[in-house]
Amino acid sequence: MTTPRPADTAATAAAPTDWPLWEVFVRSRRGLSHTHAGSLHAPDAEMALRNARDLYTRRSEGVSIWVVPSAQVTASSPDEKDSFFEPAGDKPYRHPTFYEIPDGVHHL
C-alpha cells in the first residue's frame, strides 16, 4: 500500500460531514415498484445517482434508480406507533383472505 500523503489525510478528515445524505430507491425490474435500498452521501443529486449505481446495482440488482434527499423525507414518529398502526390490527375484514388467488398471478 502507498503511504497516504498529507493531502489525502486532510481530505479524509474533512469530507464526509460536508455531503448531504440521500435515500436510494431501486427498481429491480420492469413492472415492479422502486423499493428502498439504503442511503449514501453525495455532494449533489447527479453524483448521488452515480454513487447509488456503484453501491446498490453492482450485482445487476436494478434497471432504474431514484435518489431523494434524506432531509426531504417526512417520517412517522415511533411515539405515534400506537395511534398510527395498532387500530388496523384487529380488523381482519380488511385483509383479502376470502378468495382464492388464481395460479400464475405474481406480485399481488
Binding site: T2, P4, D8, A11, A15, L55, R58
Partner: protein, 238 residues
C-alpha cells in the same frame, strides 16, 4: 520469458496497471462512496486485463513474472495516484482515449472486437465518472480548482503517447482519434472552467516510451508490490 508485443498484450497492460493503481485507493479514498466507485472501475479494468492477457498468453505468468522492460502499458497509467485530482485527471485522459479506441475496435474483425464491444460500456461510465468530478473540482472551490489544474498540467506530458500507433493496430485511425480526444477533453475542461494545458507531450523521454517498454521511476515499485507475493511463494494457493 519471451514476449511478443501483440495488441492484446499492449492494451491488456494498460488495463492491468491502471487497475492496480486504482486499487491502491482502497482504504485511502476521501469518502466511502468514492472508494467503492474507484474499486468498481479498478475491477472493470482488471476484467478487461484478464481477457486481453489471456489472448496474449498465460495471464498469471504475464502479470507476475515479467520484468519492467517487458510491460507495454502507457506511461500515463503507471503514474502515481497523487491527490484525488491527479487520479481524476489520469482517469479523464485515459478513459476518453480508451472509449474512443474500443468504440473503433468493436465493429471490426479484430480479435479484440468482442472485448472492445463489451468493455466500451464500462469505459463510457469511467469517462463519465471522471468528467463529473472534473466539473466539480474545476468549478468548485479555489483550492479544488488549483489542484485540478495542477493535476491536468502535470499529466499532460504523458498524453502524447496515447496516439502513437500501436504495433499490430496500424489500421486504427490514430490521428482521427486524437482529434476526437482533443475535442472532448477541451469541451470538458472548458465546462469545468479549467485551462487546456500547453507544452510538450513527450512523456519522460519521448513519445512511445511506455509502448516500447521504457517506464517511469515509480513503475518499479508498483511492480514490486504487485508481483512480490507470487514471486516469493511460487504456486501458493489459499
Amino acid at each position: 520469458m519471451n514476449i511478443t508485443a501483440t495488441p492484446a498484450l499492449t492494451l491488456g497492460d494498460d488495463a492491468l496497471i491502471l487497475s492496480h493503481r486504482l486499487g491502491e485507493w482502497a482504504g485511502h479514498a476521501p469518502v466511502l462512496e468514492e472508494e467503492v466507485a474507484l474499486a468498481n472501475i479498478a475491477l472493470d479494468l482488471l476484467g478487461q486485463a484478464r481477457v486481453l492477457l489471456s489472448l496474449a498468453g498465460d495471464e498469471d505468468e504475464l502479470t507476475y513474472l515479467r520484468e519492467e522492460r517487458q510491460f507495454r502499458n502507457l506511461q500515463l497509467v503507471e503514474q502515481p495516484n497523487g491527490d484525488f485530482a491527479h487520479t481524476i485527471a489520469r482517469q479523464l485522459y485515459f478513459s476518453t482515449y480508451q472509449e474512443l479506441l474500443f468504440d473503433h475496435l468493436a465493429p471490426t474483425e479484430s480479435e479484440l472486437a468482442p472485448l472492445a464491444g463489451k468493455a466500451v460500456k464500462e469505459v463510457a461510465y469511467h469517462r463519465d465518472h471522471a468528467h463529473q468530478w472534473t466539473l466539480r473540482l474545476g468549478d468548485g472551490t479555489d483550492e479544488s480548482h488549483t489542484r485540478m489544474q495542477r493535476a491536468l498540467d502535470s499529466l499532460w506530458q504523458f498524453t502524447g503517447e496515447l496516439f502513437e500507433p500501436v504495433e499490430g493496430l496500424e489500421t486504427v485511425p490514430w490521428s482521427a482519434l486524437h482529434d476526437d480526444w482533443t475535442t472532448r477533453i477541451n469541451a470538458t475542461l472548458e465546462q469545468a472552467t479549467l485551462t487546456v494545458p500547453e507544452g510538450p507531450r513527450h512523456g519522460a523521454w519521448r513519445a512511445g516510451a511506455g509502448r516500447q517498454g521504457l517506464h517511469t521511476e515509480s513503475f518499479g515499485r508498483l511492480l514490486a508490490e504487485m508481483q512480490h507475493l507470487h514471486r516469493s511463494h511460487p504456486g501458493a494457493t489459499w
